[in-house]
């Protein structure tokens, strides 16, 4: 019986597979699989919480639910920018954790075939290479596809790195 359930999940995943939500942070364009994205909201008042890493800006109230928000710019060690009316919060949900990502602006949802995705080059210099699980080619442009798990869970390593 379990196998049948698995199959149905897979077929529904197929309709979402290969679709990425693209957004820009600074000059780069990133993509994230839409199966993780719950919603996109405009920037709103953030309540700060003490003793958190600087890229975790705080928490917001989303229709009664409290979710933490991460500033992607700060996560990727870029210069922080003022929030304007184009700034959005992309709410993602991975393995029961709901988090909001603050991005400069949101572009569109595009299909990227597996054939157009290449693994990232093994350059050690790029700090945020570990969050990129692949590079997608769309027309003339290149989108960096994010690995959400790493984005959320690499905190431990960061903290240690910072202390050291």
């Amino acid at each position: 019986m379990a196998e049948i359930i698995d199959e149905t999940i897979e077929t529904s995943e197929d309709t979402q597979k290969g679709k990425f939500l693209t957004f820009s942070v600074g000059k780069e364009a990133y993509g994230i699989e839409i199966k993780f994205v719950t919603e996109i909201i405009g920037i709103q008042e953030i309540t700060e919480v003490p003793e958190l890493p600087d890229y975790v800006k705080g928490i917001i109230n989303l229709r009664g639910k409290i979710i933490p928000v991460i500033d992607v710019r700060l996560r990727f060690r870029k210069e922080p920018k003022q929030y304007n009316d184009r700034t959005c919060i992309v709410v993602i949900n991975i393995k029961e954790t709901t988090v909001g990502l603050i991005v400069d602006n949101v572009a569109e949802v595009i299909n990227i075939d597996d054939s157009n995705i290449v693994p990232p080059p093994q350059i050690k210099a790029g700090f945020h290479n570990r969050y990129v699980r692949g590079i997608g080619k769309v027309g003339n442009e290149v989108k960096l596809l994010l690995d959400c798990d790493k984005l959320l869970n690499d905190d431990e390593l960061d903290k240690i790195a910072e202390i050291v």
Partner: protein, 691 residues
């Protein structure tokens, strides 16, 4: 037959629920009867009913090991009931019953955790039948051949094979040899018979009388266990099943036209006996009111399952209901304190909103009370522990329970069960002296442990006290010093502070580790559990007289009264239960010591000052002491002052946990959503004061 697990889910749920409840009831009755050294008619009937229900429902759910055990225990009590037995060894009897209960509880928890209920009940079944033999001998009863057991109609989950008379049945003959030295061949044979019963329509076996008679063991060892049966199941399946027998040395399985001669004789005998069951049954039905011997006055049997109109509800539904009510409280605040209405005089609106407030408060109270459960079940579980431990330690102990009707939230019950157990064990092991010592110090030889529960204000107090030897202040101080846990000299520490050392992990004044205690772990578990529900522990003791441990638990977890304060642009909530007072300080009152720590003198006592804006790194203009407000807060042991910008007001707030992704900051207990949609962080006073 177990492939349809998913379909069986609700049935399995009900079975597990029922089994757990019945086991608890049975345990209570057993302990009560053992204490009173008599079994009243009502008790016997109750025990019988429980065993019978367990037997049939377990058989139905295909948990044969439980069913067989229940059956043999049922036999035991049947005998007691029928034969008006006088000489009953209560200890042995109830020891066995309690072992049986433990076994069944173990199996049930295995099933709950999706493991196989594969425990072997054979040793217990054997013990039970031996006990039955002994009882019969002690009461001078001629051992009858109770053959009717074999013909008992166990209900099948899948329709009985008898109806399938039209199918072609084959006769088989099997001979089973067990490994040498595996012991209890007769009980194993009985299990085989029992398992085969479901798929065969008739069965004969030699030796016949496998449970009762010990000679059968010899016979089985010698000639093997012979079974003749007729069934429509395929030979391969039968072979598979028989090959699955543990300790099987040799199996002979043949398809036959007619049963061998030995069985023919059996067949005839069984036919005759079949006539009798009718007479046996009439005895069943007669409720023997004339049983006069050890069934004089029916003792008080505590029925924990009170016969009120009770309905069992899934806890997740209750949680949803509670969440919704919480949201309603917030929305109600959002409507009535809406900024749009600022400054308008709305008479009727205000009246109506007050009415709404009243109703929402009432709704909240009722919903909170739904989750409230009386502590009696947990307290009664302690009975078992006291009994077992007092036997092992050879101390006479009496457990007194006061206020068992006090109700607490279901969440809390789950968390106090373990701590209570540890506390009771500690009292028994460390606190109470043994008989000689007690008599020497002119105390009654029977030790007393008191479990009390009472409501006081917004909290529930659970108090465990004993009249043992009390805590030795000196010894505890020594050990604490030795382990480096205290730095101040003994004179400076109050009794309470020294006694609370025992709550530290790894702390124990025991020289050696015993079965029950000495590792220093128990009190740590207690502290952790109580902390997790927001409670507090305090210990009092008088040397030679006894010790008292009080646990204070807040009644409501989710909705608290809080005081809104502003620090910079952020708003924080301080739980009102922690606040002693608030005031505006004067510049001169604030003193700093040599290290720069600030203090303030209030009515002769000095309190440390914690500046929230510094602790949380918030930008604010209110720095100097006389511009802000001091809020004096306290936790279990100490008090201090918090410096905030201003007070906003008192508000009832719904506590929401911080998202797990955010690692908990020390000093923040949770957050709440205010009426205007903003988030306010709730301050954890313990965390701040511990900095």
């Amino acid at each position: 037959m177990s492939g349809d697990g998913i379909i069986r889910e609700p049935m399995l749920e009900i079975y597990l629920f029922e089994a757990t409840q019945l086991m608890e009831q049975l345990e209570e009755i057993s302990i009560e009867c053992e204490k009173n050294k008599k079994i009243g008619t009502e008790a016997i009937n109750e025990i019988f009913r429980i065993m019978h229900t367990i037997k049939s429902s377990s058989a139905m759910m295909m948990f044969n090991n439980i069913s067989v055990l229940a059956h043999s225990l049922e036999d035991l009590f049947y005998f007691i009931r029928e034969s008006k037995a006088i000489n009953i060894d209560f200890e042995k009897l109830f020891d066995l019953v309690l072992l049986g209960i433990d076994f069944i509880k173990g199996e049930v928890s295995k099933i709950e955790n999706d493991c196989n209920a594969d425990g072997l009940s054979e040793p217990l079944v054997l013990k039970s039948s031996n006990l039955l033999q002994d009882m019969k001998k002690a009461n001078g009863v001629i051992i009858k051949d109770d053959c009717q057991e074999k013909k008992e109609d166990t209900k099948y989950y899948i329709s009985a094979y008898e109806k399938l008379g039209s199918e072609i049945k084959q006769k088989y003959f099997a001979r089973i040899f067990y490994e040498d030295g595996c012991e209890m061949e007769n009980v194993r044979a009985y299990t085989v018979v029992h398992n085969l019963k479901e798929i065969v329509s008739e069965m004969y076996h030699i030796p016949e009388d496998i449970i009762e008679s010990d000679d059968s063991v010899e016979a089985i060892r010698r000639d093997g266990f012979l079974i003749g049966f007729s069934t429509s199941t395929s030979k391969e399946k039968i072979e598979e099943q028989l090959n699955g027998i543990i300790f099987l040395r040799e199996l002979e399985l043949q398809q036959v036209e007619e049963y061998p001669l030995e069985f023919k004789a059996l067949k005839a005998k069984i036919q005759i006996i079949l006539e009798n069951p009718i007479t046996e049954e009439t005895i069943y039905k007669e409720t023997p009111d004339k049983l006069d011997t050890n069934k004089e006055e029916v003792g008080n049997i505590i029925k924990s399952g009170k016969q009120q109109s009770i309905i069992s509800v899934n806890i997740s539904k209750l949680d949803m209901l509670l969440d919704l009510v919480g949201e309603i409280v917030i929305s109600e605040a959002m409507v009535t304190k809406n900024p749009d209405l600022e400054g308008l005089t709305l008479e009727n609106f205000n009246k109506a909103s007050r009415q709404l407030r009243k109703l929402t408060n009432e709704l909240q109270d009722v919903v909170m009370s739904i989750r409230m459960v009386p502590v009696s079940t947990t307290f009664h579980k302690m009975n078992r522990i006291v009994r077992d431990m007092s036997k092992k330690l050879n101390k006479e102990v009496e457990l007194v329970i006061i206020g068992e009707d006090t109700e607490v939230d279901k969440n809390i019950i789950d968390h106090i069960s373990d701590p209570l157990m540890h506390l009771v064990r500690n009292s028994l092991d460390h606190g109470l002296e043994d008989k000689e010592e007690r008599i020497a110090s002119s105390k009654p030889p029977m030790g007393k442990i008191t479990l009390e529960a009472k409501n006081a204000g917004g909290d529930v107090f659970i108090i465990v006290s004993d009249d043992g030897r009390g805590l030795d202040r000196g010894k505890i101080y020594e050990k604490a010093k030795f382990q480096g846990l205290v730095t101040k000299p003994e004179g400076e520490l109050t009794d309470k502070e020294i006694f609370s050392c025992i709550l530290l992990p790894g702390f124990s004044t025991n020289e050696s580790v015993t079965e029950f205690s000495g590792r220093g772990v128990g009190m740590d578990v207690v502290k952790k559990n109580i902390d997790s529900i927001g409670g507090a522990i305090s210990i009092e003791s008088v040397v030679g007289r006894g010790s008292t441990i009080s646990i204070k638990i807040p009644l409501t977890l989710a909705i608290i009264d809080g005081l809104e304060v502003a620090v910079g642009t952020s708003k924080y909530t301080i739980p009102i239960t922690s606040i002693r007072e608030s005031f505006k300080p004067k510049e001169n009152d604030v003193i700093a010591d040599s290290e720069g720590n600030e203090m303030i003198m209030i009515r002769g006592e000095a309190y440390a000052i914690h500046r929230l804006h510094r602790i949380f790194n918030i930008d604010t203009e209110v720095i100097s002491s006389n511009n802000g407000i001091m809020v004096m807060v306290e936790d279990n042991t100490k008090a201090a002052c918090l410096f905030v910008d201003s007070l906003i007001g008192e508000q009832q707030v719904v506590v929401k946990a911080l998202p797990t992704y955010i690692k908990k900051a020390k000093g923040i207990a949770g957050c709440t959503i205010l009426g205007d949609g903003n988030i306010s962080l709730i301050i954890d006073v313990n965390g701040i004061l511990d900095r």
